[in-house]
Symmetry: C2
Subunit: 214 residues, 2 copies
DNA sequence: CAGTGAAGTTGACAGTAACAACATAAGAAA
DNA sequence: TTTCTTATGTTGTTACTGTCAACTTCACTG
């Protein structure tokens, strides 16, 4: 009954909030079956609308997927913000790392979409902005932990490590090495190595030839 | 002239080594236009064969892509092996890291394919085997550097960091933070943090509640 | 109350993966 | 030699996709 079936029964010509409904349906589809399973026609079918209706709101398939990804970035950012309040930067960083991986595990499909090459993040300024805020919040923690290392590079290193773990998990690359389905011990080890590295890393390369080579 | 044009002119019913030719053409297509651009029909067109001929050699599109990916894994493994001969494990590790990123940058499309979710690595034992060899070679270096940390977890951390950097680069996530197109300074910083972390990380979590939480 | 423009619909086209039925050629069996 | 078998390619078809174009509906504005 209720909204959905009424819509089918009444079949009003105008949907009311089709744009929102399309993004919701696509997000659900991404969550259930992965980004590859999303077709505009299937989404339209789910919402109960003609196969071309989505084009009134999204110029292309990629645009719809980008909207779903933007939603994902906001969720991720909100989750990370809540974990940022600890006073100890090392603990705060570790909590962020766990939160990042947890998000990737819980929202597998959307996470894959967010970092998929199907989406050109450059052309979607909303994504850009959210990512930038998250990055800056991370930068402050890193700077506190590791003032001797250039903050941007250290932050990118931390981000890359989290990102790499998430990717390896989602690609099922770890199942043959790690039993724990929550990957707690791996994440904890990675965090320990990371924090120890940030604190103890030298400010500049030991051997400058290493940087210049090639 | 020669082989290719002769084949078009003579148009022999049987290609001779179609399987090989299909993989080569697909690899070229992946390298030039990315994994998404690969369609069986396009590959067949390039090789000069009917749209259904590939199905005699590959049951599905994914199977052809998996063959291309396997080729990529072998290339990557060969490259890493050459960088493994240094005596100093820290330098050897750093060289491996650079080699890994260089491969991803040089063979962008194939690297994306290798770690794409379009391919189920589990169902292709050849991939499995190559990846396993590479992992074990890495493990030996890590164990030398960081005997106090469980080797598998430390190795996974290292791999994840390399993987994460490669992904961020290929997704163009770094362009707004890093100018250097070779990313030498970033990679060097990541390596310094990593080595310092591996050497200085404590053996077990400082606070066991961190591991159990959630 | 006409009429304008946004939102949704129907129809079409080109491209795709995959299946089925058929054609060809190369080698084994007679 | 001649026939049979089988792997390899081909043609044809189905069902699906994204996207364009032209049509319809309807809410709101002057």
């Amino acid at each position: 009954m209720s909204t959905l079936e009424n819509k089918k029964a009444d079949a009003p010509y105008h949907h009311g909030d089709l744009q929102r409904a399309l993004v919701d349906a696509a997000a659900q589809l991404v969550a259930d079956c992965g980004p590859a399973a999303v077709s505009l026609r299937e989404v339209a079918r789910i919402v109960g609308v003609s196969h071309n209706a989505p084009y009134r709101h999204f110029p292309t398939r990629e645009a719809l997927l980008a909207a779903v990804a933007a939603h994902g970035f906001e969720m991720l950012f909100e989750g990370m913000s809540k974990l940022t309040n600890e006073s100890d930067p090392a603990k705060s960083l570790a909590a962020c790392g766990r939160g990042y991986i947890d998000f990737a595990l819980e929202h597998r499909g959307i996470y894959q979409l967010m970092f998929s090459d199907e989406i050109q993040k450059g052309s979607h300024p909303a994504l850009h902005a959210v990512a930038e805020r998250a990055f800056e919040s991370l930068e402050r923690k890193i700077a506190a932990l590791s003032p001797q290392v250039p903050t941007v590079l250290a932050t990118l290193t931390v981000w890359a490590l989290m990102h790499g773990i998430a990717h390896l998990i989602l690609d099922n690359q770890l199942k043959r090495h790690v039993d724990d389905p929550s990957y707690r011990r791996l994440i904890d080890t990675a965090n320990r190595i990371l924090v120890a590295g940030l604190i103890n890393a030298s400010a500049e390369p030991i051997d400058s030839s290493e940087v210049i080579c090639i």
